[in-house]
């Protein structure tokens, strides 16, 4: 748990990076700090591992003011990933990953095992271990960067635009992989980005920064549903309904499988279900991991009034227009009239 209490950071030259910022990050969750460049989000992050110290207010980690902690110990217990990665070019991938474990004095066997574990976790083949960073692609380098940050099992992970320098396809892939990893590692993550889509995708909670202050701190859903002011609304962009659809899983909006659309579903599936299993729906069926946006896309392209959500070959629910609209708190009267 990380707590910011009335934190102000003013640099010696008089510029104020952040002013009176308060929020707390619950243990095991991911909080994304998002805002335009120069809004103080990176400074805020650096206050956590004391790369910067606040001018006023306190930053506490698990209830202890972090200025009472030894900064070297604090940093060794805090993973740190930056956009530029900053791999050590004179060391192999394995040695890079082993940096912090070595600093804190793990024995060779334990380090060896941990490096292997992390290569697997980051989906890097073991062969990379003895290669040098200069031999890797951008995506691979950032995987190594993340592996290095996780090496000593830190309680807190700080990530400063970790995927910002990657091409869109690699970025998307790494984001998805990282979401997976995030579920497995139970680390408190503070993630900085200027990309609202990335924020909505990665964050359990999002802190939106405007010059030096947190304007809104809430869950992605809440921010999309109810942007606090014009700045937030502008920052999210015109298409916030789409964004919301994109981050909502179909399981949240779907109706019961035996409801009013049962017949439509039966008809729909019967036609294509010669075999069993999810794949037999011929792209029409949705999986529980699909977003509502994907569901809407397929609804628009198909004649069916509703689509089944299938898990392990079993229909667990249906999604129709009205379910999607209902999730916005409005009912589609026109649609109801039609059915």
């Amino acid at each position: 748990m990380i707590e910011f209490e009335n934190v102000t950071k003013t640099y010696p030259d008089g510029t104020t990076a952040i002013e009176n910022v308060s929020f707390s990050v619950e243990a095991g969750t991911t909080t994304v700090l998002v805002g335009p460049s120069g809004c103080g989000k990176t400074t805020t992050m650096k206050l956590v591992n004391r790369l910067e110290d606040p001018t006023d207010g306190t930053v506490s980690v698990d209830g202890t003011d972090n200025r009472e902690l030894d900064e070297i110990d604090l940093r060794r217990n805090t993973g740190y990933v930056i956009q530029e990665i900053g791999l050590f070019d004179h060391r192999t991938v394995g040695e890079n990953i082993a940096t912090v474990p070595k600093l804190v004095g793990w024995d060779d066997e334990r380090i060896d095992e941990r490096v292997r574990e992390l290569l697997d976790l980051m989906d890097l083949s073991r062969g990379f271990r003895d290669q040098y960073p200069s031999e890797l692609s951008g995506g691979q380098r950032q995987r190594v960067g993340v592996a290095r940050a996780l090496a000593a099992d830190p309680d807190v992970l700080l990530m400063d635009e970790p995927f910002g320098a990657l091409d869109p396809i690699t970025r998307d892939r790494l984001q998805n992989e990282f979401l997976d990893i995030q579920e497995r590692i139970n680390t408190t993550i503070l993630f900085v980005t200027h990309d609202i889509d990335e924020a909505l995708k990665m964050g359990d909670r999002i802190a939106i920064f405007d010059v030096g202050e947190v304007v809104q701190y809430d869950t992605p859903q809440a921010i999309l549903d109810d942007p606090k002011n014009e700045f937030v609304a502008d920052f999210i962009g015109e298409d916030r309904s789409f964004k919301r659809l994109d981050i909502t899983p179909v399981t949240e909006v779907m109706g019961p499988p035996d409801g009013e659309y049962a017949a439509a579903i039966d008809g729909n599936t019967d036609a294509t279900t010669a075999t069993d299993g999810g794949s037999s729906y011929d792209g029409e069926a949705l999986s529980p991991d699909d977003s509502v946006k994907a569901a809407l896309d397929r609804l628009l392209r198909s004649d069916a009034p509703a689509l089944p959500v299938v898990e392990n070959g079993e229909v667990i629910g249906v999604v129709a227009d009205e379910h999607i609209r209902a999730s916005f708190g409005r009912r589609s009267d026109a649609r109801q009239g039609a059915t």
Partner: protein, 224 residues
């Protein structure tokens, strides 16, 4: 042209007919170069580290190095004479002073060429300032530092000829006394052998430098 070739051949003949003396001179020359160079490395590298780390020390350190380099080598030798007398030791001191700057500037440049991001990452991972220096900055700066050592050594081979003026010996004995006596074969024998020595050292050190900058990373590891 024929004259030049003739002089060269005569020079080689002189060299081979005076081999024992040549080896004495060469040995002395190498002793001058290596001892002064080793001392220069021992002093300049730590000074460079200090200069790279503390902005305030940087100006004074660099100006000392600059002054040492700007004064003509002959003048450095001339200055060493009233202070330290004649012979081998004052020569080494003078050559040492003259060899400092290339190593010093390259040490500073090498350390400062390590990218900010790498340092930021090292800091963020909880490396102390000394650990950053030892494990990150120096190993990464090593090829650049070594390039400075190479330049300095090659210059040193040439400068060491002048040591003869204050009784330091070396290949300068043949060249300078040869000039005074118009003994061209002797001049040639001393000059050509020194030139070859400089080329061999340059190539040898370049090979080491090359290994340091690519795969030589392992070398840094094993010595660290």
């Amino acid at each position: 042209m024929a004259g030049a070739i003739g002089t060269f051949l005569a020079g080689m003949q002189y060299l081979f007919s005076n081999l024992p003396e040549f080896f004495d001179l060469l040995q002395r020359h190498l002793a001058l170069v290596f001892v002064s160079e080793a001392a220069a490395i021992l002093i300049a590298v730590p000074l460079g580290v200090v200069a790279a780390r503390y902005d305030r020390a940087r100006g004074p350190i660099l100006s000392v190095g600059n002054v040492a380099q700007t004064v003509p080598p002959l003048a450095v030798l001339a200055l060493a004479f009233p202070l330290l007398g004649l012979g081998y030791r004052p020569s080494v001191v003078a050559l040492f002073v003259y060899a400092l700057l290339p190593v010093l500037t390259n040490t500073i440049a090498g350390i400062e060429s390590v990218s900010e991001n790498t340092i930021d990452a090292a800091r963020g991972m909880g490396m102390t300032e000394n650990e950053r220096l030892r494990e990150i900055q120096l190993p990464l700066a090593l090829p650049v530092i070594f390039a400075g050592i190479r330049t300095s050594t090659v210059i040193n081979v040439g400068t060491a000829y002048l040591a003869f003026f204050i009784g330091g010996g070396g290949l300068g004995s043949w060249v300078i006394s040869g000039i005074n006596l118009f003994n061209m074969p002797q001049v040639m024998a001393g000059a050509v052998s020194g030139a070859l020595l400089a080329i061999v050292l340059d190539l040898g050190l370049a090979a080491v430098e090359g290994r340091l900058s690519d795969s030589g990373v392992e070398m840094t590891q094993s010595t660290a």
